[in-house]
Amino acid sequence: MVFQLLDENGMCQYYDLSDMPGVSAKGVFASDKYNYLDSVAIQDQLIQFKLADQAHVTFYLPQIHCVSCVWLLENLHKINAGIIHSQTHFEKKEIKIVYNPSKISLKELVQLLAFVGYEPMIHLGGNDWLKKKKVNKKQLFKIGVAGFCFSNIMMLSFPDYLSTSIGDLGSLRPFFVYLNLILSIPVLLYSASGFFVSAYTGLRQKWLNIDAPIALAIVVTFGRSVYEILTHTGGGYLDSMSGIVFFMLVGRWFQDKSYDSFSFDRDYTSFFPLGVTVLKEGKEINKPLSEIEKGEIVLVRTDEMVAADAQLLTEGALIDYSFVTGENAPIEVAKGATVFAGGIQKGRAIQVQVIKPVGQSYITELWNSPLLNNEKNIDKSFVHPWSQYFTYVLFGIAFCSGMYWWLVNPHNILPAITSVLIVACPCSLLLTVTFTYGNVLRHLGKFKMYCKNSSVLEAIEKIDTIVFDKTGTLTNHEDIHLEYEGTKLTNEQAIAIYSVTRESLHPLSQLITQYFSTQHLVVNKVDKIENHIGKGTHAICNGHSIWIGSAAFLNEHGILVENVTAGVYIGMDATFFGVFKINHVYRKGIHEMVTRLKSKGYQIHLLSGDHPTEKNNLAQLLGVEISMLFEQSPNDKLTYIQSLQNEGHRVMMVGDGLNDAGALKKCDVGIAVTDQTHLFTPASDAILEGGMIHKLDSFLEYAQKGKRIITIIFILSIVYNLVGMYFATRAQLSPMVAAILMPISSISIVALSALLSYSYSRTLRARN
């Protein structure tokens, strides 16, 4: 059965692994990459619990995606005897490993994981992401206690609902009501504590938030119930009170259910490696990144990240800054020049001397920008103004009914006022909001748009300007397409070029190699090859003198190049042959999506860190009238967003990468676009899968429908309130009426919210 599972997923290789349990795979996957894990300081940061023969460690493995992954990862102990036990958490994409440090080191463990295809993400931020778990548990405790008390109070109150006169239970009655009182105390003091705290902090800031009337209703209900019980005038409304608390807690929990495997609050620490290799007196020492000082020499291997601004000491640097600046092609950096933190080395290992500590480098300074200090204003919730009206109207009604009874029958003043406060509890409003937003978030999640929380939905609704990044957002990062333009190559010429590019490790050469690889060419011997760093390559093959490189490089060597565009130029035997144009592959449906957005009145802007070579294509894709800015630094993007906001616009930024991080944080709604994994998403309000970007307009529309759903349901809850009010103002609110009204209104609200948000989400699907 497992075989079938693995077979379907094309992962039969896993079988080869498990068929040889106990085989020591040492040395097979030895790599220098993880040497830093030998450092004790780094180990202490990662290992959660350690004894002489047992250590616990948790890794984030973004590659986990199917049942086979779980199977393989939970059978790691068969591959290496040093692993005692491993347990995965599918949704969080985590693995918890218990291992024996005397048999397998942390480094070997990570190498083993990388070997089987699950390279853990280990970053400077360390295991901070593990800490947030506990909050959720407390909420579950509160729900559990409230549920227990609510159901028992409900049961004990039952005789009251059915009896016509108070005397039915006779001598047993005090026992019932006092037990109710005892059971309601944990609800008041523990489960409902969140509402009191929130209401109190709101009031201290002179802000009447939605929790204030709720807290008031809870206190009044409890107070009146205690009074009735102690004076033996009635059974109180403790069932309603605990029920309200229970439902509202469930609603909040429903709304707060987050996407476990996503992290929305990443800063640069999540991108940078945990440790680096420092060269000191000819020896390699592994050091945690935070201890790196100015002047130290750091070794950066292939595919490793330059972790601090530094001066290049050796040749062969080929830095991919796509992540920092949004530029597509890697840049060759000459010896002695400065390399910036965040760049990834694509060539062979290089040595750099640190000139600025990690926290002060070009890219990390973005986080210290004063423009980012103001928090996004999430308090201006759509519900809050309503809750204020609600509270005023409520007090008005309470006051009027009080006045009325003062004139007619002063004996009824207090019962009438308290009844009004009990019945008109704004819990229906709160439930509507929490459940509707919870549902909308879930439906959006089904279409791979993952919002951080419900306040994002409220912010989306006010957006009038959308700013797009180009590289990685509108284009697909991994999809670069080459197109040849020029004199048609003969088979023999193609072979010559192919043979030369095969020799080079330059990513552009490799792209050309890939381009030819489909033609099944033979490879000829290259007689002579010279690499000019930052310019190109000259080689002799088959008797042809071949020049491959930039236009300037060819011109320099006497080959006249006309029509200068971005690309790799080919010259052969002193004549210009043609150019391999690097085409960005735009994601599908961008044009249609942008057209729809424009027709809905959104302003569209484009900010790119790349050169303006694509301007004409983009104008075709997005429309000529939109403002396009190129060669924007991360800081430029940030200030551009700021200036839009100063003009009074509500801005949504759609971007990826660290170069958008500042802008994503500054704007009103930041959407991070990502392909396949969740590796590199900067701090944002929502994460959108790249393939779904053509649906952005539908997502915005759907998020806005949330407000309509809330309005519809709110009208319904007003009807319930009016019915309750009818009884309350007449000072006739029996516990029976309260007990029936409360669950019916709650359940119908929850059901209606689910129904409406589902039916609206079908329009989301229809646009597919």
């Binding site: 497992v2 347990q87 004990l156």
Partner: protein, 54 residues
Amino acid sequence: MSVLILLIIVSVLVAGGFLLAFLWSVKNGQMDDDYTPSVRMLFDDELKSTKKSN
């Protein structure tokens, strides 16, 4: 009728037992992962038997 007192105390205690069980399970981390156990259950017994329990 006074037997009701006894019955109600017993019923509240039983319910309290379930509450404690729930609180314990939350604390113990059983509510942390609501997906993986359902997958793990489907693995063959043979494989399961070699796997150490928590």
